[in-house]
Amino acid sequence: MDEKKTAWERLKLVHTKGRPTIRDYIPLIFDEFYEMHGDRLYGDDKAIIGGIARLDQTPVTVIAQVKGRDINENKACNFAMPLPEGYRKALRLAKQAEKFHRPVICFIDTPGAYAGIEAEERGQGEAIAKNIAEFMTLRTPVISIVLGEGGSGGALALGVCDELAMLENAQYSVVSPRGFASILWKDASREEEACNIMRITAEDMVRLGVAETIIEEPLGGAHNDLDKISENIKEYLSLKIPEKCKKDIDVLLKERYTKFRKIGEFTEHPVLPRISGE
């Protein structure tokens, strides 16, 4: 594992050209992959792919956000910013997995859900809300892995799971550091400062109860050794998927609910230090 890097240094790493994407990982982690298209309602979003794969001997459903490896690929997949039909495709495939008792593996890698006219018109908010609620009670195991960027509700729509893993340099945040700086300080150029105070690293996620596992990256980052990082991801999945499949589904669902239920920090019956007037 690399020595400690700042959140900003990790963000730079995640944005490094050549950082592996889901298209690199699939052939190295799974034995087969049949991609399935469309949400059956409107269209086929290219920012989320999904399909049926084989992990070791087990059929699984894979749902993933797709980053491009160059500008043309990025244009085709809209820089991994899904439209509502992407989230609806994800839910359709998750429901299919539930029916056929296949575990679901979600790979998160998005700066956020797409912000645009068509996204609003087709109900981006509704699509994300529905995924979150439905994944919470999906009667099959769900494991999510953040590969690079986990941005906002657009990431959470694939992030309601039994266990969340983060690649060592991956980040998960309420909004991109740039967005954070522009919302809170009306100054997007304070991105680095935002990045370092937002608590968005893999270690932060484990500490805050959001993630359970950190998957080690090769020295210098995932792009330095694709075989090694793929092996690490596969090793993790090969351990976790059978473990979750063995569990009674009602117990699993209860644990899934509790995992999110307990996140939040507040006090009750507070003693408020009031500085009273003379």
């Binding site: 609003e120 809300a129 509700g153 996620m205 609910y257 996140i263 006090t267």
Partner: protein, 281 residues
């Protein structure tokens, strides 16, 4: 004669009598000036364009629930500082002092025309109604309580979205609250969302969009991404009516748009149609 008319106008213009000194407000939608007291009389509804303005949680409770029937629960919950964000505790103390609220939502049990319901009322004066740990926990508890006691839930939403100052913890409240909505729903519970100005971001992308029935007040803003964000993405101006309640209804995301003066009676009827009744809790 024309001169007379001008004189009258001039006199009116220069008149410093009480009548003209009365404070006015500008409608945030159509920009028309409205006498403040008239605006308050109308419960903050613009008499020109029918935009339904923002109410405090207290005002909403008083125009919605039977007199003295609303009992607040979890009133003293206040947020910690999960990501140790600079000046967040101070900012909250200041807002608590100004608004008298403990955070951006008030939850409780009350009666509407005699029918008992669990309710949550968001208040945009408190950090733009943003959702952090307290909003998440109170709403979650409200749904769990309603599921346990077989009660309906009505939420009046008003929010700019996630509470940035709580970082990832605020994002997780979307999952927590939506999980509780699902729990209540799977137990057969009835849930009405009343979207009020503004309902955006993480609240739109969680419990606000999960009602069995989704009602909106006229002319209010509803959306996932903010207008400025979209304009900067697409580099063009958006039409005026974009993301207003009427627009969202046209696109299929709102069941009904209901005027404030009819809201109480519509809610009572909908509760009744779903077999809800008076219950002592």
């Amino acid at each position: 004669m024309l001169e007379d008319f001008f004189n009258v106008v001039k006199k009116r213009f220069n008149d410093t009598s009480d009548d003209d000194a009365r404070p006015t407000v500008k409608c945030p939608r159509c920009q028309s000036p409205i006498l403040q007291e008239r605006y308050e009389e109308l419960h903050r509804v613009c008499p020109f364009c029918n935009y339904h303005g923002r109410l405090s949680a207290q005002e909403r409770i008083s125009i919605t629930f039977d007199k003295d029937s609303f009992h607040e629960i979890n009133a003293d919950m206040i947020s910690a500082d999960p990501i140790e964000f600079p000046e967040y505790p101070e900012k909250q103390q200041e807002l608590r002092d100004i608004t008298g609220l403990s955070d951006a939502v008030v939850t409780g049990v009350g009666k509407i025309k005699g029918i008992t319901t669990v309710a949550g009322i968001m208040d945009s004066r408190y950090m733009m109604g943003s959702m952090g740990s307290v909003v998440g926990e109170k709403i979650t508890r409200a749904f769990e309580y309603a599921a346990e006691n077989k009660l309906p839930v009505i939420l009046f939403t008003a929010s700019g979205g996630a509470r940035m100052q709580e970082g990832i913890v605020s994002l997780m409240q979307m999952a927590k609250t939506s999980g509780a909505v699902k729990l209540h729903s799977d137990a057969g519970g009835f849930y009405i969302t009343v979207l009020t100005d503004p309902t955006t971001g993480g609240v739109t992308a969680s419990f606000a969009s999960l009602g069995d029935i989704i009602i909106a007040e006229p002319k209010i803003l509803i959306g996932f991404a903010g207008r400025r964000v979209i304009e900067s993405t697409i580099r063009q101006r958006l039409p005026e009516d974009f993301q207003l309640a009427e627009f969202m209804q046209e696109k299929g995301f709102i069941d009904m748009i209901v005027d404030r003066k009819k809201m109480r009676s519509v809610l009572a009827h909908l509760l009744e149609l779903h077999g809800c009744s008076a219950k002592e809790v």
